[in-house]
Point group: C2
């Protein structure tokens, strides 16, 4: 790659093999489709779409629908190609070389990638032994490092733990940094701290249609904050990024959020079942408020799952993340675990 700039040396294309057969529990996707009335209305609208025209670059209707759901103004909302794009744009808008980015660790792997893309310094803060958040350690690191950005993923990917609202507030009010609150999995949690992003000037909440809304295929996410922070993202973001079909489908999904409740509740109860069953089988499991469970277990179990075409996410030879699937998928997984856990 002769033209790649020096600071990017060693970067390689990211490659992931598409799985076309088996039980896919490795990407924290919803195991269900969007509710039928949403898809039917989408199919109707697609039929008379002006495919030859550029999208509305302000995503006006979608921003309005999101604003309506949270009872906020559309000036407090912006949309992007997944919350990834909006996170990356925020890094790009704010980070100068050698700035410090703090994050609990392990967390969403792109935080470190985005930091390094901008030649900034990433510091990860370990979780407590029970994988709860160590807020004191974060506050100490904030004092020591004067970070430009603080990342919080809650429920945390891949561990599943949450920060309480008072813990979030404690971090936000004890730093001058901009705090990025990634709420990708919050629909599966007991509390929703999104509204805090309008109470504190240095807080942006990021949400996605890729998880609970069952729309990973269309790559759409949004950010909520005061209009200054939203303007900053919009100033740096590429115009025209969201396709019209993605805008339409997301708008229908958020406007019909209630239709998802049954599906979401099913995942929550399946998650809690899976947790107790794995525990009974002697697997080290950690409490989760997301649609996945973080486990420590023997590699032979993972190999057994693979052999049975059940795909979970492997971090090391003993650390894995299992996305909660449909009832029958989880049962099949448990059957295999039972066989190999002995």
């Amino acid at each position: 790659m002769q033209y790649l700039k020096k600071s990017f040396e060693g970067m390689e294309p990211y490659f992931s093999k598409e799985i076309t057969d088996g039980i896919v529990l490795n990407a924290n996707e919803a195991p269900y489709l969007p509710p039928k009335p949403i898809l039917e209305e989408f199919n109707n609208r697609i039929k008379c779409l002006n495919f030859n025209r550029y999208p509305d670059m302000q995503n006006t209707k979608l921003c309005e629908a999101i604003a309506k759901k949270y009872q906020i103004s559309k000036e407090n909302v912006t949309c992007g190609v997944g919350s990834d794009e909006l996170l990356e744009v925020t890094f790009r808008a704010t980070l100068e070389p050698n700035d410090v980015v703090l994050s609990f660790s392990p967390s969403f792997s792109m935080y470190k990638v985005f930091t390094e893309l901008h030649n900034a310094k990433f510091i990860g803060i370990d979780f407590n032994d029970d994988l709860s958040f160590d807020v004191d350690a974060m506050l100490k690191k904030i004092k020591e490092n004067n970070p430009k950005l603080v990342l919080i993923c809650s429920p945390n990917n891949p561990t599943g733990a949450i920060l309480t609202q008072s813990e979030i507030i404690r971090i936000v009010t004890n730093t001058n940094a901009l705090v990025l609150l990634d709420l990708a999995y919050v629909d599966f949690a007991k509390e929703d701290p999104t509204y805090l992003a309008l109470k504190y000037n240095n807080l942006i909440a990021y949400r996605t249609f890729s998880k609970a809304m069952a729309l990973a295929s269309i790559r759409c996410g949004y950010a909520i904050s005061n209009s200054n922070n939203i303007d900053m993202i919009n100033a740096v973001k590429a115009p025209y990024s969201l396709s019209i079909p993605s805008q339409i489908l997301s708008e229908l999904a958020i406007s019909n959020y209630d239709l998802y409740k049954e599906n979401i509740n099913n995942v929550i109860s399946e998650r809690d079942n899976l947790y107790s069953n794995l525990k009974k089988l002697g697997i080290n499991v950690y409490p989760s408020e997301a649609n996945f469970i973080y486990v420590k277990m023997d590699k032979k179990i993972y190999d057994g799952l693979l052999e049975n075409k059940i795909y979970i996410r492997a971090f090391t030879d003993e650390i894995y993340r299992i996305t909660v699937g449909l009832k029958e998928e989880n049962e099949k997984l448990l059957k295999v675990v039972r066989k190999y856990a002995k």
Copy 2:
């Protein structure tokens, strides 16, 4: 915007008002829809789509369909959210602060924006008086400035002129820079130099589904080059950027390119009609091989068009770009021009 970094100071959100009524000839969109068989097949495939799953991040089927059309390997192709994304990623992958980027000027406005985003130096090279490309001036600037990137848009937006293949080769073989050849409008031109991007190591061709393919709504573009350059773009590009609906529709479009030929030929003959009619009316027009015409004319004509809800692109009070529309749209435009040109 308190958190925006200093080097981005002055950046503002880009705002464009959506036009919902009238004749839209300001964005170089196709005036026709994609051919019916393509849309019908798309509607069928959408009905059974796994909306809850992430897209194939390698865009495998789409890359294969593009590779098939050009009889090249899929390793020579990558796709993105419009060719804009791929151009921006190439700038990001290669530019260090103070690097020089050369482009003919005026050209696609984002080249300068992307350059400045990376704190590099943009140098624009004027066209000849008849708005043909001044290749000698480009070669002189290459010698003087040792650029990192050279941008060529052919047919050029907004002027419509093209560089011949031998002129492109002359530039490519006289620089160490990476040459980015933006072919967004090439379907409307006499020659297609895309294949040159596999003959010269320092050349990447960029193409889009937004113009002749009548798919601006779905934001899809692609780049063609040797696998080293394609790997470089893939290494820096965000994974998962293209939605599944966008991948499917683009794949159908490129696989059925022949179905577009009649539409494309109509635009070409409408363009040539519009050109001669505008000339007859005493308007300064420039030869174009794209789906638009660059004109110098009195502002009162532009105001008259606006009054009649005919929207063209204004660069200054005397320089405009008119996208070629449907026959009846062009006739309406000519009628208004005739009235105000006197």
